[in-house]
Symmetry: none
């Protein structure tokens, strides 16, 4: 049985960022420092003003450098946005989950931990997620990035569902891919409403509800009652 990984689904920065857009890193320590302060400044400005309403001069000022220096490290707004995403993806990619497989009793625990990891990571990067959403509506490359990530994750979840169906643990009538999409969406949107639109739900409650819905939806019986 495969593990679903974190249901980053909809909109999670992953390892797919097209790094060809990024220049080689500066060689001197000073250069590295300047570059880093630009990336951090960019994140703050983007999160504050949105991608569209932000200006490169704002980013340069926020980083206490000049606009000329900006162009020493980045070729465009898109490029520094890519760099910002790259920093965030390290955080979003850690499902932090050990490979707990083949053990039916642990499925619920794995899923719950996975969901929890996702919600927590989302919480840390909520503003950036909204940002990526915005940029994806404008720029085809970032849109493709988002879609590809989503697709990859869905495939993983779909395989996991198939395995569960084969093991007789999930409703075999469900289409695995479509179901994977649906369930992944459920979790990512819950996170979106809570963190980005201000519902501000309790993370424990979200974890519990989403895990239960996932189980129910798949026609799984929670292992605990079974063993009780």
């Amino acid at each position: 049985m495969t593990k679903p990984g974190s249901p980053q689904g909809d909109a999670v920065p992953g390892s797919l960022i097209d790094e060809s857009h990024l220049r080689s890193l500066p060689v001197t320590a000073r250069g590295l420092r300047t570059r880093q302060s630009l990336v951090r400044a960019a994140r703050r400005v983007f999160e504050r003003d949105g991608f569209i309403n932000s200006r490169l001069t704002d980013i340069a000022r926020e980083a206490n450098t000049s606009i000329g220096t900006f162009y020493t490290y980045f070729d465009s707004k898109d490029e520094i946005f890519t760099a910002v995403l790259q920093v965030a993806q390290d955080d979003m990619l850690h499902p932090g989950l050990p490979h707990v497989e083949e053990d039916p009793e642990n499925i619920a625990a794995v899923l719950e931990a996975s969901n929890r990891a996702y919600f927590e990571a989302y919480g840390r990067n909520a503003k950036l997620m909204v940002l990526l959403e915005q940029v994806a509506t404008i720029n085809p490359e970032f849109r493709a990035l988002r879609i590809e990530r989503s697709r990859l994750f869905t495939v993983r979840v779909a395989r996991w569902i198939e395995a569960a169906q084969e093991a007789g643990m999930a409703d075999p009538a469900l289409d695995p891919v479509m179901t994977a999409r649906a369930l992944a969406s459920m979790v990512s949107r819950l996170a979106y409403y809570s963190f980005s639109l201000g519902e501000d739900w309790d993370v424990d409650a979200m974890v519990e509800t989403s895990t239960k819905l996932w189980f129910n939806a798949l026609g799984m019986t929670l292992p605990q009652p079974a063993s009780a």
Copy 2:
């Protein structure tokens, strides 16, 4: 038992559009015609180029008028976008569902019909939905519009879930509001992936899967097997 209505959830234009943004309509038939051709041209241009990348001159040209004429009818891009949404909402608002209530055997049918109506309306307005998503990331007013719609729909679904729980037909452990959000998201995102991101699923399959997931998730038993 209340019916959920169509799960227009996430992003459906409803009656909440702030019409105060719209000027009074022109008095002559000619004016009405010109205005209409502008709105239609705007929809085409927006759908083709996106809201941000479209220019008012493009809209005017597409409508075979001058830019001056544009300003005769609208004050801004936002305003004509409001007008475009208003045209679409008539289509999105009709769930077209008769009030089928109190009859347990019909719940599945109602839900299925509701979902189908939603998917079909979404299919007709898919590009516009993407557009609204984009604009909502930029403009606080349209964002508020989307959120409010979503909230209203969630409330309706939540009430329906509560009623089902009270009738002993749904898992009483689920938080009604959070669950409503999750399930509505599931359906709207399925539509989004299929129509806007090119998954291009069969509508029947989407209706079937989403209805089943919804039922399962709530811990309902489908009426058919019950009677079997």
Copy 3:
């Protein structure tokens, strides 16, 4: 001895308006009525918004007609402004003074009455005066109009001063033209500060002060002491 007439000096609409700019008046009663309501509306709009910041559409709306109708009667903004001035000049031109001449005892009375008439007319047309000032700074024709009026009036006052000097009643060392300019300016500016810039002085006080200053400045002795 010539009488000075009203010291309309600086900025008083006179009979110099170039009427060649004005079309022939409409023939029908209805046409006359429409034209008149346009002129009145224009005056209100000009006085409210200034010449530059007013739009022809505003004038048409204020007159309850259409912009098309405006062009039935006037060719341009300048033209209707000319018409507005023409209406006002009838009021500004009435010095309301009988020819009181040759009688030394009456000089003060004549001057006082003349000044009073000027201040009162200015008060009735203060907003229009400001308007003419604005337009004169923009449009050479209206500037020329203002200058010519001013010049004519100065000439009259200068002749009057010369006559007084010849009669031994005024300081012969004064340059008549320059003095005429100076004295006329004094009165018109007093009116400007009071009515247009909000000093809001008492008209009696203005009349008294300006008459006394005029007399003193010319080295005239007020008739009363003469009889003493």
Copy 4:
């Protein structure tokens, strides 16, 4: 006895310019140079075309820069106009008069010198004065600036008149404030007609006439006749 200062009265740029409108000056010498050439170009263009009929592109072209560069230093036409005024005010503000007080014989000399300084400064800035007049008719802030300057100057003159009245040297029946307004107006308008409207009088004659009128009007006796 207070000295009146130069009768800059009506329309003289003073220290009241709202400098908050001005951005911080550029840091580099090159920037300073560019800014200065823009201000000079603006003055030329304004004086040539008037404030209203001038375009920012004209100013940029006259300064041999791009329109973008204009916006590097100024936010608007109003702002560069403020900068133009600021340059001029240094010239207009120096009455260049020593404090000659308490000495009755010198009153005429002080007044004459003051008037002369005013006429000469006006002559150097005549076009700018006309410009300020135009802008004041359009823009409330500049209007307020002009009014405030005028008020301040009038207050100074009024105090001087009061002192003269108390010393028994001026007609005690005159209202000091109104008289101050009237006399200041006399001088400033004389300058206006001569320099801006093309009368082109001899400065000596203007100084002599205005000083004499001022003395006569106040009921003062010129010291010279006393010695005759």
